[in-house]
């Protein structure tokens, strides 16, 4: 009997989200099948890699990060420097306007602080098509309103709970945010520090989106792993080990369905880019298989 490949077809499709503006913009998501299942459906956009830049290091333009396809600014720690909200927003806008690539802005993660900070950042960066977050259930209203007004995309963050993820997305759409302007952050932990929980949450979201056609989970997924990976003792002990730690974590989340990964080390960035490039020819090439 001739071998017949077990081909699944999925009823759902992940939303395609555009971040950045004009010629510099990038699209993420849009797939109709699971990661690397080129034989089953379309994967128009390969996973995108972002390098993180902290505010402390922001003025060193020679930094490798600025050659990345996406830059992620992490505002965590800006409070400790004693900067006020207006100042942080202005500095963020200066960087965003000078880098020429799409920018992800992660706030402090503290809901009360971000409720004030992120709308200011949204305003200062009006029209830049930021990917801005994390938006949480405690502060989604204010940040959603600013994103609508100043034309940005949102990162909706819920801690490893697919039901809560769906709920936050529903609440955001009720605020008028269309589903192609939301990216899901299910919270990603590092290898050895709970990664499997994040993997499982991500996998469930992707399956609900594709197999069950759940409209409220069809947003691309972001894995913000740089900070998580470099705070573990294995990475702190040894840089090379840290790069592998971050690299393995990144690969696992790519397999789980992450559409954007935020990395800290330029070495990891290159490593993952090399691995992905071997598969790039397969993207958006259904006929090839």
């Amino acid at each position: 009997m001739a071998y017949e490949a077990a081909i699944e077809t999925y009823s759902g499709k992940v939303e395609e989200v555009t971040i950045g503006k004009g010629e510099d913009s990038l699209r993420v998501g849009g797939e109709t099948t699971l990661p690397f299942h080129f034989f089953e459906g379309r994967l128009p956009n390969p996973p995108k890699l972002a390098l993180e830049v902290s505010h402390q290091r922001q003025l060193d333009r020679s930094e490798e990060a600025f050659k990345a396809e996406i830059i992620s600014l992490q505002l965590l720690g800006t409070d400790a420097e004693g900067k006020d909200i207006e100042e942080i927003a202005a500095m963020t806008a200066e960087i965003v306007r000078s880098v020429g690539v799409p920018v992800i802005v992660y706030g402090t993660g503290e809901p009360e602080r971000d409720r004030e900070l992120l709308p200011k950042v949204a305003e200062a960066c009006a029209g830049e098509g930021l990917l801005l977050g994390p938006v949480k259930k405690e502060n989604y209203r204010e940040i959603a309103a600013a994103c609508l007004k100043y034309d940005h995309r949102l990162i909706a963050q819920t801690p490893l709970d697919v039901n809560a993820t769906k709920q936050l997305n529903i609440m955001l759409t009720k605020e008028g945010i269309s589903t192609d302007r939301i990216v899901i952050d299910p919270l990603s932990s590092a290898l050895g520090y709970g990664m499997e929980y994040s993997y499982s949450a991500m996998e469930r979201i992707k399956l609900a989106a594709l197999a069950h056609n759940d409209k409220m989970l069809q947003m691309p997924i972001i894995a913000n792993i740089g900070g998580e990976c470099w705070k573990v003792k294995e990475a702190k002990e040894d840089d090379a080990q840290g790069v592998l730690w971050e690299g393995i974590t990144a690969l696992c989340f790519i397999l789980a369905g992450a559409n954007i990964l935020i990395l800290r080390s330029p070495h990891t960035y290159k490593l993952i880019q090399q691995i992905l490039s071997k598969h790039l020819k397969n993207y958006d090439n259904r006929e090839g298989y």
Partner: protein, 293 residues
């Protein structure tokens, strides 16, 4: 379905205060109101009852028996408090609950035999809560045979398959139903009961009722014998009396996977259809499930 009213519970502030002060009035009021609402048993939930459990249970049983003639379900994990209550119950009481845990088998189960009481036995054992229907079956069969050896007949055993919140694990909610369907064949004559409100634990308060009611219809169809419920949910009582056959039939259709033309339904009927779809695991649960198309 036999309904056990859950509303006398030490977790409720009024009740814990009344117990502490030995003030019968709030408790008797609740007992009377639940009796009038139409439940068949009253659950008296003392929780772990570590301090003063024996005296508390004795007082509680006397107090409630002065106000209501309904049989009682005594709900505590403290076997000494349990025995104090059983000793003075007028009618055949229900022990809520025993399980397959070694401690429970040694201390709680023998009380059922000694006082000829019914006993709720959950599928819990020393390994925890089994994750699927087959695991539940395996666990309960062992405990049932232990109970039989102690002289407790199947007719006095009320199996609690343990219901987890739908917001926590939808798959478990489906597995529960599969288990209930198997139960009559597994252990002929045993009854079943469930803490129905646990289904909606974690769900916003105003939405809990419809989840509980829909599930009652569903497990009833699977052969569920009884449930511990909110006695003041009027619609639940009405459904149980068979007064809302339209809703019941709709929920059955969702269980059978029939296509339902929701456009022709009232908004209430639509809500039941959506709720049944969530419980069947066809739609991923979110707090806003009723608002989605």
């Amino acid at each position: 379905m036999i309904l056990i009213g859950e509303n006398i519970n030490i977790m409720v502030k009024v009740i814990s205060k009344a117990l502490e002060e030995r003030n019968p009035e709030p408790i008797q009021k609740l007992a009377i109101a639940q009796t009038e609402a139409g439940v068949d048993f009253l659950d008296l939930n003392l929780g772990p009852a570590r301090k003063d459990g024996e005296a508390q249970m004795e007082w509680l049983v006397r107090t409630v028996q002065e106000a209501s003639t309904l049989p009682l379900s005594l709900d505590t994990t403290n076997p000494v408090a349990m025995e104090a209550g059983l000793a003075i119950c007028r009618d055949k009481a229900l022990i809520n609950s025993a399980s397959g845990k070694q401690e429970s088998i040694e201390k709680m189960l023998p009380l059922a035999q000694k006082y000829s009481a019914g006993v709720i036995i959950s599928v819990l054992n020393d390994e925890g809560i089994p994750s699927d229907a087959a695991g539940r079956a395996e666990s309960i069969m062992e405990t049932i045979s232990t109970a039989n050896e102690l002289g407790i007949s199947n007719e006095d055993i009320w199996v609690d398959p343990i219901l987890l919140p739908v917001s926590v694990d939808q798959q478990q909610v489906v597995e529960y139903m599969e288990f209930v369907k198997m139960l009559a064949d597994l252990a002929p004559g045993v009854k079943s009961t469930v803490g129905l409100s646990n289904l909606s634990n974690g769900t916003p308060g105003e939405l809990r009722g419809i989840l509980n009611r829909t599930y009652m219809i569903m497990i009833g169809r699977c052969g569920q014998y009884s449930a511990i419920v909110d006695a003041f949910d009027k619609e639940l009582i009405s459904i149980n009396k068979g007064e809302m056959t339209g809703i019941t039939e709709l929920v059955h259709k969702v269980m059978d996977g029939e296509d339902i033309d929701t456009a022709s339904l009232s908004s209430k009927e639509r809500d039941y259809v959506k709720t049944a779809a969530v419980i069947m695991g066809k739609v991923l649960y979110s707090h806003s499930w009723l608002e989605l198309d």
